[in-house]
């Protein structure tokens, strides 16, 4: 285990130095969630006037949860880009040859993704609070919100890692981005689930992201809702994606 941890530490450290010293990587991961927060919470603020919109809080808080989870997901995706870039530069191959415990690499990338997301999360939280966001949830509930976001982050990182380990190229970027983007937007982004109609309601009803989003909104509004279901969905997604990433790693190992 200590061997895995030392590999994880090395990979995480390198990944973070690369991410935080390269503005082209750092800025988009911060700007995009901020743009979504401003665009949705500011531009669509009248949506909470729709009859039946029963969220306990303002529209900024309602949208903040979506952007919070979205930033967690994209923190993972951007880490996936980093893994692909490591393969393109040849670093990953050298690391695979040198590392005594290769699964430590996945652990390292996951740790780096969490740290990267934490920076973005702090910035968007400050922005939302400056905009006057209502936070009705208490300590434990807010920890719950962070927990849900961490599960999303881990799921996206392992998904990005799985894709990168199979394709080994940055050209696979859309393969990482688009499923995550679509998965997030097929949840009740703008209004609560019961206000959605037609096909989007059906899709959102079956989308596991809906449970995560609704639980997050429940936490911030101080009215926890479907928390157990959300953590179960999150844990299942993490387990599935860890398996996907590990199988990708084994495939790479066979090719060494």
């Amino acid at each position: 285990m200590s061997g895995e941890l030392s590999v994880a530490r090395a990979v995480a450290r390198r990944s973070l130095i690369h991410a935080f010293t390269n503005p082209a990587l750092l800025i988009p991961s911060i700007i995009f969630p901020l743009v979504f927060l401003v665009g949705f919470a500011g531009g669509l603020s009248a949506v909470d006037d729709v009859p039946g919109f029963d969220f306990n809080g303002d529209y900024t808080a309602f949208q903040f949860v979506f952007v919070f989870l979205q930033s967690a997901a994209f923190g993972g995706v951007f880490t996936g880009f980093g893994i692909a870039a490591d393969f393109e530069s040849g670093f990953a191959r050298r690391m695979l040859l040198a590392a005594p415990h290769r699964s430590g690499m996945l652990l390292g990338y996951a740790a780096a993704a969490i740290v990267r997301w934490c920076v973005t999360a702090v910035i968007i939280t400050i922005a939302a609070l400056l905009a006057g966001m209502d936070v009705n949830g208490q300590g434990v509930e807010l920890v719950g919100l962070i927990g849900v976001a961490l599960l999303v982050n881990l799921t996206a990182t392992m998904f990005g890692a799985g894709v990168s380990l199979r394709t080994k190229t940055l050209q696979a970027g859309p393969l990482m981005q688009i499923p995550i983007f679509v998965g997030l937007f097929l949840a009740p982004v703008y209004v609560p689930l019961h206000l959605l109609t037609g096909w989007i309601h059906t899709v959102a009803d079956y989308n596991p992201v809906t449970a995560l989003l609704e639980a997050g909104r429940g936490f911030i509004s101080g009215e926890p809702d479907k928390s157990l279901l959300a953590f179960a969905c999150g844990a299942a997604l993490v387990a599935l994606m860890v398996l996907y990433a590990i199988r990708g790693l084994r495939r790479v190992e066979r090719g060494l």
């Binding site: 082209a24 800025i27 988009p28 700007i31 995009f32 743009v35 979504f36 401003v38 665009g39 949705f40 919470a41 500011g42 531009g43 669509l44 603020s45 009248a46 949506v47 006037d49 729709v50 009859p51 039946g52 859309p174 679509v182 937007f185 097929l186 009740p188 982004v189 703008y190 209004v191 206000l195 959605l196 109609t197 037609g198 096909w199 989007i200």
Partner: protein
């Protein structure tokens, strides 16, 4: 401009169109991504039609023109990327051996992105109509809508070309995407300005030229022939086109002088 220059511009334009249309990876996302967002937003935000004074019967009608704007955004990245690639590969250096000057090269280079924008506009409109959207201004309005969408694409294409010519890097052009995206989100793209409750957002949207482009295009779909919205859109798109074209020509001239 003599006949020979026009012929040479035609050759560059033909090359630009062929090169762009041969890249499905460029065309497919340009067309599919805005349609996907339209499908999601039109369903997800359909309840907003219940907000008092909402100007359309369905959010699909209201949001249809956003696809044209996003198509214009892709035109910017296409135009800039193509120009930057030609700089990276040395094609521009070889063009310097011909009598063609910067503005003429630019006109030819923009043809590819305009072709994609035209194709995309037709698909957006057809898909919108099939999905149940209704153009209040009728067939004439639909034709004007396509025309204005092309002007918007030209305006954004010019801006993309400035970045392409100045940096000579396709990667830098791609990096510009978030910047223009910010302007989109800070406009009246998602709700009419009079229904935006946040004062600061309404102020930004009022100063944001993108709002006038969206509102002009949108007026044809949800209002009919609205002279004020249309002239504002025309003036804004025209001004951005001129700025883009003059700026890109100057940047290209500087780069050509350097090589």
């Amino acid at each position: 401009m003599d006949r020979e220059t026009l012929r040479e511009i035609g050759i560059i334009a033909g090359r630009s169109v062929r090169r762009t249309l041969r890249q499905p990876a460029l065309i497919v996302p340009t067309i599919l991504f805005p349609l996907m967002l339209l499908a999601i937003n039109a369903s997800g935000l359909d309840v907003t039609k219940n907000i008092p004074n909402f100007p359309a019967d369905s959010y699909l009608d209201f949001a249809l023109v956003v696809t044209f704007m996003q198509g214009g955004l892709f035109a910017a990245t296409t135009a800039g990327t193509e120009l930057a690639t030609d700089i990276e590969t040395g094609f521009l250096n070889r063009l310097q051996l011909t009598p063609l000057r910067a503005p003429a090269i630019l006109v030819g280079q923009l043809a590819g992105s305009m072709a994609v924008a035209f194709l995309a506009s037709l698909v957006y409109l057809a898909t919108g109509l099939i999905a149940g959207a209704h153009v209040e201004a009728g067939v004439g309005g639909a034709i004007v809508l396509i025309g204005l969408a092309m002007l918007v694409a030209l305006a954004f294409g010019g801006l993309g070309s400035i970045i392409g010519a100045r940096t000579g890097s396709a990667e830098a052009v791609q990096g510009m995407f978030p910047l223009i995206f910010v302007f989109f989100f800070l406009s009246s793209m998602n709700l009419p300005r009079n229904l935006i409750e946040a004062d600061w957002f309404r102020t930004i949207a009022t100063w944001n030229p993108i709002s006038y482009l969206v509102e002009g295009l949108r007026s044809l779909v949800i209002t009919g022939w609205d002279g004020t919205a249309l002239w504002r859109c025309l003036v804004t798109a025209g001004a951005i086109s001129v700025i883009g074209f003059v700026g890109a020509s100057a940047s290209l001239r500087t780069r050509m002088a350097r090589t």
